[in-house]
């Protein structure tokens, strides 16, 4: 169907475009920016007056919980949440059950996702079989099946020689290795940032050194193996210095941060709020401010939701027994806009972190921009509208977020995937 999006403010970070203009879509692709191609007739016109027309958002970490944890969420429920959040591409961590370490499983996931015909799914394969850190996965085969990178999710490799070889093997093909920096011993048993708050509440701590020690190892091995490294969900200010130095040394390294880490710190745990139990933990206010600045100046390349739907039973437990994680697909845009407003950052720059910059990390060429010929994945949102975050507005099966009860900026009005209108907000 030919669609004409009219009167919108086009913001396309990849092409440094921020201008009032129209967008023309045909056959699932963008066929015209500002000017209609010859002979274009629209079957449908979307009036985007007062709205921003941006590339569909790209989320570098969304757990859809399939296969294995369907009682927490399903592809259907989480795809609906992605659409409501304006997210059209999702990178999926491999910590499903079974783990995404076999080409057949990855193909099945891609097939299921394609059949649902909503957001595009980009699985991140397991770096080692079963995430056990012992045997390499069939990376070449997994890429053929649809994987875009390899990771250990939140399961660190204990044996540094295996890690080194996995990175070396991946670098043979130029595959990117995504690693979560967390030393398994320093973080063992911990549930909150080691500092004043955890000390007062009597919660076992995870010191900043747990992140920094692991990160140092990864960066050093990346330099040695030539692996392309992506560091996921950094949480400490000190990590920024290490990454900066590695970049000066020529290490090919990018990094991302979870949206909630830009807004919350350990003090938000308050009286043991289990919604603030996340991995990596909410760090100090000083860390939060440093991360927030680093995203603004581009030292942190992307913001992701780290979407982890958790069922109520698993959350309604004493803090350390509650399952970590927060639901985030529908909060990625609002939290990014709130962060951008705090830094008075132009929307063009802010949206880059959840579109074009994220696309580069995940190796997504067809999406994340509004060029003629690109896949017509579009997010149309009202940047000035605020909405109350409550359980009933969340489409995700996971209602677990520390932002419940808060008003956040940005409301997605339309989401298009490959030129098909997949979501229209209720009036």
């Amino acid at each position: 169907m030919n669609i004409h999006i009219t009167n919108g403010r086009l913001i396309d970070p990849a092409n440094r475009l921020d201008a009032q203009g129209d967008l023309f879509i045909a056959d699932g692709k963008i066929v015209g920016v500002a000017h209609a191609p010859d002979g274009f007739t629209a079957a449908r016109t979307i009036d985007a007056s007062g709205l921003v027309v941006a590339p569909g958002l790209i989320d570098l970490a969304a757990r859809l919980r399939e296969p294995g944890f369907e009682y927490k969420a399903t592809l259907e429920s989480e795809m609906d949440a992605a659409m409501a959040g304006g997210i059209t591409s999702l990178a999926i961590p491999p910590d499903t059950d079974p783990v995404l370490d076999e080409p057949g499983l990855v193909e099945m996931l891609c097939y299921r996702a394609k059949k649902l015909n909503r957001a595009h799914v980009y699985p991140v394969g397991a770096l080692t079989i079963g995430l056990k850190g012992e045997q390499l996965s069939e990376m070449a085969e997994l890429v053929e099946a649809g994987c875009v990178a390899f990771s250990q999710a939140n399961v660190p490799i204990l044996d540094t020689r295996v890690l080194s070889r996995a990175m070396l093997y991946a670098s043979t093909f130029g595959f990117r290795v995504w690693l979560q920096p967390l030393d398994p011993y320093l973080s063992r048993g911990g549930v909150a940032h080691e500092g004043e708050v955890a000390s007062r509440l009597g919660l076992p701590g995870i010191p900043a050194s747990a992140e920094v020690v692991a990160l140092f190892t990864y960066l050093r091995l990346a330099r040695q193996t030539g692996a392309r490294l992506h560091i996921t969900r950094i949480s400490c200010a000190e990590s920024l210095d290490l990454i900066g130095r590695a970049r000066e040394d020529g290490v090919d390294v990018t990094c991302d941060v979870a949206a909630h880490h830009l807004h919350l710190c350990d003090m938000d745990i308050g009286y043991f709020n289990p919604h603030c139990h996340v991995v990596p933990p909410l760090r100090s206010q000083r860390d939060r401010i440093a991360l927030s600045k680093a995203v603004a100046d581009g030292r942190i390349n992307a913001i992701c939701s780290d979407h982890t739907p958790v069922d109520d039973d698993a959350k309604q437990a004493p803090f350390s027994e509650s399952e970590p994680g927060t639901t985030g697909l529908e909060l990625l845009l609002p939290l990014t806009l709130k962060w951008a407003a705090e830094h008075r950052l132009p929307l063009l720059e802010a949206l880059a972190r959840i579109t074009s910059d994220a696309a580069k990390i995940a190796g997504i060429a067809k999406g994340g921009h509004l060029s003629v010929g690109a896949r017509a994945d579009i997010c149309i949102f009202d940047p000035d509208a605020h909405q109350l975050i409550d359980r009933s507005m969340l489409k995700s099966q996971g209602k677990n977020t520390p932002f419940l009860g808060l008003e956040l900026p940005g409301k997605v009005r339309y989401t298009l995937v490959e030129g098909t209108l997949m979501y229209v907000s209720p009036p």
Partner: protein
């Protein structure tokens, strides 16, 4: 965020922690406990303040002493007491903590006395009661994880006030495993709230929480430094499983450096008192000569514990 321990009139709704509990309320509890200590010496030790009320001792972690003192306190207030050792029943069958609470609420509970191995469990229960509109049910924290043991902290304050009269000119040392101790956290909160000018913690650094100074205490590595001229020595229990490993090399070394002996106690003021929450490890954290010596007030602590718990429960039951 409203203090979850207080109702909308600022009265005590639950007793969850001493951290953030207003000084007036702490003082009021101590004041209210005084007549109960006198009552304990009477022939008839019962008062009808909680007559007809059901107190559930909900212990997810084993305890004999604390549970018994709560039971005695509740019975002296004429409450019906039901003891539940949940560690051996429902949770083993997969029931969640809040399911257990809901079931007991359906049995017309008026008060829960909760001990749990996880920090924050009593807060979770209190929050759940509030969310479900059951404001008439009260929660008393009888020890949660490493977080708080408020009635222990209160009975310790009662003991100090009994022997020292005033808090404003005292130097107090807390000795031992502060890191894993809910007792120490409650003591620190109470001492700093009541205006004790100097609180010291003495232990190897492996047993001290990060940023402990932010709690308003001074860290001292040695007993020689830390016990000098103190008025009160509060010993902590060292759990068996922490005696050998990566936190401490051996109980022998611990005793040598941090065990309270008569020699080390001589550094304190001559009228200093020695406290211990029990149960004691003689020869590990405290020498028998000190534990049984005339400066020890360890048994009065136990007696006062009942009066303080009666004070807390009667205050909660009165509104």
């Amino acid at each position: 965020m409203r203090n979850p321990q207080l109702n909308k009139h600022g009265e005590l709704q639950h007793l969850l922690t001493l951290d953030g509990l207003p000084r007036d309320i702490i003082t009021q509890i101590l004041d209210n406990a005084t007549p109960f200590t006198e009552m304990a010496e009477r022939e008839v030790k019962k008062l009808p303040l909680l007559r007809g009320k059901s107190v559930f001792n909900l212990f997810f972690e084993n305890s004999t002493r604390t549970r018994t003192t709560f039971e005695i306190a509740a019975k002296r207030l004429s409450a019906d007491v039901i003891n539940l050792n949940v560690s051996t029943s429902s949770t083993k069958k997969g029931e969640t903590l809040l399911d257990t609470v809901d079931n007991l609420c359906a049995m017309q509970a008026d008060m829960f006395v909760v001990r749990h191995e996880s920090s924050g469990a009593p807060h979770l229960i209190a929050q759940h009661l509030q969310n479900t509109g059951r404001d008439h049910i009260h929660v008393v924290n009888a020890g949660d994880g490493r977080h708080a043991h408020p009635t222990q902290g209160l009975l310790d304050m009662y003991t100090i006030r009994h022997f020292k009269k005033d808090f404003h000119n005292l130097t107090v040392a807390i000795v031992g495993d502060v890191l894993h101790s809910r007792v120490a956290r409650s003591q620190i909160a109470a001492l700093t709230t009541l205006g004790v000018p100097e609180v010291r913690v003495i232990a190897p650094k492996t047993l001290i929480p990060t940023d402990v100074e932010r709690m308003g205490v001074h860290y001292c590595a040695t007993m020689q430094e830390g016990l000098k001229d103190v008025d009160v020595v509060m010993m902590l229990r060292l759990q068996n499983e922490r005696m050998n490993g990566a936190l401490l090399p051996s109980p022998q070394e611990f005793f040598k450096v941090w065990g309270l002996t008569a020699d080390k106690l001589a550094l304190a003021r001559p009228d200093a008192i020695v406290m211990h929450p029990g149960p004691m490890n003689r020869g590990v954290e405290i020498d028998s000569a000190v534990a049984d010596g005339n400066q020890a007030v360890i048994l009065p602590q136990v007696t006062f514990g009942i009066a303080v718990r009666m004070a807390v429960m009667s205050m909660l039951g009165s509104h």
